[in-house]
């Protein structure tokens, strides 16, 4: 390992990222600019999250990496191997055993605990981007708390679809101040953002932004009195473990269109099945 920088990045880069993390924690929900570095992987692989993880890891960490809830995708496996090699950390798939969790598009079903760090990969950090492409303008809107357009956009959803159609990256307000993009997690996960005992860090590599939620921060999904926010999911139980309260993926199982619903969080599903819980198709799948 002595031939490498610890966790790949050089000391001055990690120091710069660490200073940005402290500012992000001091101003919850505000996007701190940082000088993103080239990483030995494409931007779509979550280089913002990877740089945050590199700046946070210590040698005795146990790292979990999930991609849409799964530990075994190419993306998750590669990032895990990268930090095993460059930082010498232990890895795990068990949410309860992890000290640092890097995630793309999900919050684990198992409640996080005091001392854990959840690091999100973020493609587009600016929640106002699709309303106003100019960054000078979106910064001004955040400074003046001009969030009316965001409400108008959500209300147009209601007018057009009878409900708020946004189901991923559903915007939130942090401690009554900054509107924040929670990354493309399903809105089912939004309630877990709030009052969470873990530190939550968000990194956008291409867009060069870091933002954060300290533990126990109040996070509210934007909504209306007559159309309150609902953390919806598919109205099924998991076909493998029978869970009724976890976020489900719909999977086509054969070429005649048979389908099944399974937990998107593979650790959650496996843990439940190991404990003896079964779903509708548990026998078939086994």
């Amino acid at each position: 390992m002595s031939d490498y920088n610890f966790a790949y990045l050089d000391e001055q880069t990690k120091r710069m990222i660490r200073r940005a993390i402290l500012k992000a924690l001091a101003i919850p929900g505000y996007q701190v600019p940082f000088a993103s570095r080239e990483m030995p992987m494409p931007y779509g692989w979550g280089t913002g999250g990877v740089q945050l993880t590199a700046a946070c890891l210590v040698p005795d960490d146990r790292l979990k990496v999930i991609d849409q809830g799964a530990d075994d995708t190419t993306n998750a496996v590669s990032i895990r191997a990268f930090f095993q090699r460059t930082a010498g950390v232990a890895v795990t798939t068990a949410t309860t055993q992890a000290t640092v969790i890097q995630t793309r598009h999900r919050i684990p079903e198992t409640p996080l605990t005091d001392g854990q760090i959840l690091i999100y990969q973020v493609p587009i950090p600016e929640p106002l981007r699709f309303l106003e492409p100019r960054e000078t303008e979106t910064r001004r809107m955040h400074a003046l708390e001009e969030y009316g357009l965001m409400h108008v956009k959500l209300y147009e959803d209601i007018a057009r679809h009878g409900q708020i159609a946004t189901s991923y990256a559903y915007p939130v307000k942090v401690e009554g101040r900054y509107v924040m993009d929670p990354s493309p997690i399903p809105k089912f996960d939004n309630p877990k953002l709030s009052d969470n005992p873990a530190i939550q860090l968000f990194g956008a590599g291409r867009e060069q932004r870091i933002y954060a939620l300290p533990p126990w921060t109040q996070v509210v999904s934007l909504d209306f009195d007559d159309h309150p926010f609902v953390a919806s999911k598919a109205d099924h139980a998991c076909d493998l473990c029978g869970a009724r309260d976890s976020y489900l993926d719909e999977v086509v199982t054969d070429d005649v269109g048979s389908r099944m619903f399974v937990c998107s969080d593979t650790d959650h599903c496996t843990t439940r099945r190991d404990a003896g819980h079964t779903g509708r198709l548990a026998e078939v799948a086994a």
């Binding site: 610890f6 990690k14 120091r15 924690l25 101003i27 210590v58 921060t217 109040q218």
Partner: protein
């Protein structure tokens, strides 16, 4: 003790371990943590010296309050940060009384509130009693001995602009970011 000794023996690993403590402290305002990885010359305490080495480098102008001239060379050797007046400082280091008045430091801009100074404060006392702290990172409330109340309340009133404080005493630190609401006990 010379300017050349007392830095991190294993910079990459100790910086990582030290930052983790500092991050937990900033994420949980008012909680007290041990952090003593560097050994700076007197009068600077080990926690304050460690924080300085974790954050300062040639890209971060630092204001060294009076009474700390003895560590000028130590900082130059181990951090390489330019020493500047309060108005240009990204970091400031010194005893509480020597850092006053606080309105000399940058509080950031409305569009860029992160462009503000972080003050590393040396205190004679740091205990979990005294002022009542609430806000992000604090589940219910915590108590922390503070050198004063009014300056921290005035700083909170500037939110989302404002200063962030890393309070140190000997080998211990506690953080007080701008988001924390401070009240008399």
């Amino acid at each position: 003790m010379t300017a050349l000794t007392g830095g991190f023996a294993d910079p990459a690993i100790q910086s990582a371990q030290g930052f983790r403590v500092l991050m937990q402290a900033m994420a949980r305002p008012g909680t007290i943590h041990d952090l003593a990885l560097a050994v700076p010359p007197a009068p600077l305490g080990r926690a304050a010296g460690t924080v300085a080495l974790l954050l300062a480098d040639p890209t971060t102008p630092l204001h060294l309050a009076q009474g700390h001239d003895a560590i000028r060379d130590w900082l130059a050797f181990h951090a390489g940060c330019p020493l500047v007046g309060p108005d240009r400082a990204a970091l400031a280091l010194g005893r509480w009384d020597d850092l006053l008045p606080l309105d000399r430091f940058a509080i950031g801009l409305p569009d860029y509130p992160d462009r503000s100074a972080t003050l590393i404060v040396a205190l004679d006392r740091l205990e979990a009693q005294g002022a009542r702290l609430t806000g992000p990172g604090i589940r219910d409330q915590v108590s922390l001995s503070l050198p004063d109340i009014a300056p921290f309340r005035a700083n909170r009133a500037l939110f989302p602009m404002g200063l962030d404080f890393i309070l140190t005493c000997g080998d211990r630190i506690a953080c007080l970011p701008r988001s924390t609401v401070v009240e008399d006990a």
